[in-house]
């Protein structure tokens, strides 16, 4: 029998309440440090407080060891920002994931993002053994089962209290096989996912085609889809993402715009050029947010300003999304 909380919400997280209220939500990203300094987290949280509705806390992102997402998430909760705990299948088996989620819930976390995890060969421990006991679809099912059935993966009933998470997952609309991607999303929806955050999107037109297919399958009515966006910092970064990063589709227009941005500024004026690029990068993201709002089925944006948390506020403000709404209780 499915358990429901008394208020009718699955988790009651801020993110869930805002989405249910029909608000266009904004999530951000907070990367924990490669060290044990909690103040780093506090500084980053201060930049996101009141600017995003919830912040993803990455889990050994790109397979580089960092402070744990739940450890950092605990500090983020204390700082008054709602975390979305990222949980990968790379580093933990089903026992570890479940026990960590029990702890995360007890510490006040209410959102979890279920991920496969970047392969360890990309990170700083390429000789490590990976786990992949579960895949991301199975992870979604397990977290939903813990919440809705009060059962562990094995079927055992858990003691009071069951962890009631708002369950998210990722989607990469531009990975291959392209035509399979909406079906992959459908599988995550069938597994019970509540919200989706997409990988970085620059080619809005192509994303619209993906969303067309998503709407044909009726998935946009079953899951909240947050479009992933990220400000470019420089023409070099734009070119790198266009040419080198698998699964990213960066149209030439953005590379050109970034190049144009510093035109007329002397090459010796490095600071001024960098500033001009960054402003153009933020401007592009602001325009993209406005475009995303026009796409049916997009419930919000996930702004990934990696190691550039300062950019999030001007972007969200520029897009006319401040102040952030307070959810109903």
């Amino acid at each position: 029998m499915t358990k429901t909380s008394s208020n009718g919400y699955k988790s009651g997280s801020r993110l869930e309440r805002l989405l249910r209220a029909g608000e266009f939500v904004v999530t951000g990203e907070l990367g924990p440090p490669q060290g044990a300094d909690g103040d780093t987290i506090r500084k980053k949280a201060a930049l996101l407080k009141g600017v995003v509705d919830a912040a993803n806390i990455t889990d050994n992102q790109t397979a580089i060891v960092r402070m744990s997402s739940i450890g950092a998430g605990t500090i983020v909760v204390q700082e008054g920002v709602e975390p979305i705990i990222q949980m990968t299948c790379r580093d933990r088996n089903r026992l570890a994931i479940q026990s960590d989620l029990l702890g995360a819930y007890a510490l006040g976390m209410r959102n979890v993002l279920c991920l496969t995890g970047d392969h360890q060969s990309f990170g700083n421990h390429p000789t490590a053994k990976n786990v992949h006991d579960l895949d991301s679809v199975q992870l979604i099912q397990m977290v939903v089962k813990m919440r809705d059935e009060g059962q562990f993966e094995c079927g055992d009933e858990m003691e009071e209290v069951e962890p009631r998470f708002f369950v998210g997952a990722a989607a990469n609309p531009f990975a291959d096989p392209f035509e399979y991607r909406p079906l992959r999303l459908a599988k995550k929806v069938a597994a019970g996912v509540d919200f989706i955050q997409t990988q970085l999107i620059y080619n809005i037109k192509r994303f619209d085609e993906y969303m067309q297919k998503v709407r044909e399958l009726g998935l946009h009515e079953k899951v909240y889809i947050l479009a992933g966006l990220g400000p470019l910092k420089s023409p070099g970064m734009a070119r790198y993402m266009r040419d080198q990063v698998p699964g990213l589709d960066v149209p030439d227009i953005y590379v050109d715009r970034m190049t144009e941005a510093a035109k007329g500024i002397d090459k010796a004026e490095k600071k001024a050029r960098s500033q001009a690029w960054r402003e153009e990068g933020m401007q592009i993201t602001i325009e993209q947010i406005k475009q995303m709002r026009e796409i049916e089925g997009v419930a919000g944006v996930h702004v990934m300003a990696i190691e550039w948390e300062e950019a999030v506020k001007p972007i969200v403000e520029g897009a006319g999304l401040l102040p952030r709404p307070e959810p109903a209780a």
Binding site: T116, H132, D135, Q138, A175, P177, Y180
Partner: protein, 228 residues
Amino acid sequence: MIIAEQKPLEEIKALIADAKDVLVVGCGTCVTVCFAGGEKEAGILASSLRMSTKLDGSPKAVEHITVQRQCEWEYIDPIGDRIADADMVLSIGCGIGVQALVERFPDAVVVPGLNTSFLGLPTEQGVWEERCAACGECILGLTGGICPIARCAKQLLNGPCGGSQNGVCEIDPDTPCAWQLIYDKLKSQNRLHLLEEIQAPKNWSRSRDGGPRKITRQDLRLAAEETE
């Protein structure tokens, strides 16, 4: 079949450093077919070690012999005397061959000359690729005959991760994405519906995670007793 490759000569020399009389034991089955530990390789390795240790100023007597299958008692029992004569045995069978010699000849000191790599096949002359992870619970019937346990870097059971691009795996441009292969195969057979169903968490207890595996066939055991 089992695919293996020879260890670097320096590593092998370190393994046999304490021995004077070394017997290289090749195997006539899998490792012969993958040119790692057959009769020819046993001969070359033995002479390489003789020459190399001579040049180093501490020559060793290195002989070689190859059995048809190093992983069955009946093939290794006949070389018991040769093994007893050596003070170290350098097996260039797979890891199973090494351990078969260890179990059958308790007094022998056996060291490996190969790294046993994987279960696979030669896809072209000089190229071997992994195909099976011996997970103990075959799912090839669900995946168009292409194994995601052996061929997907993340052993995914419910479709490709976000790192599949232009048919290749994100970890290596020379590695095809197993899930792209599965998708293409099932699409060509009009069987894409197989991908819609969610595959439950795998029972890894039938794989290595359940501890060392053993199969006992009582029917065969009884038959064997009756004929004795």
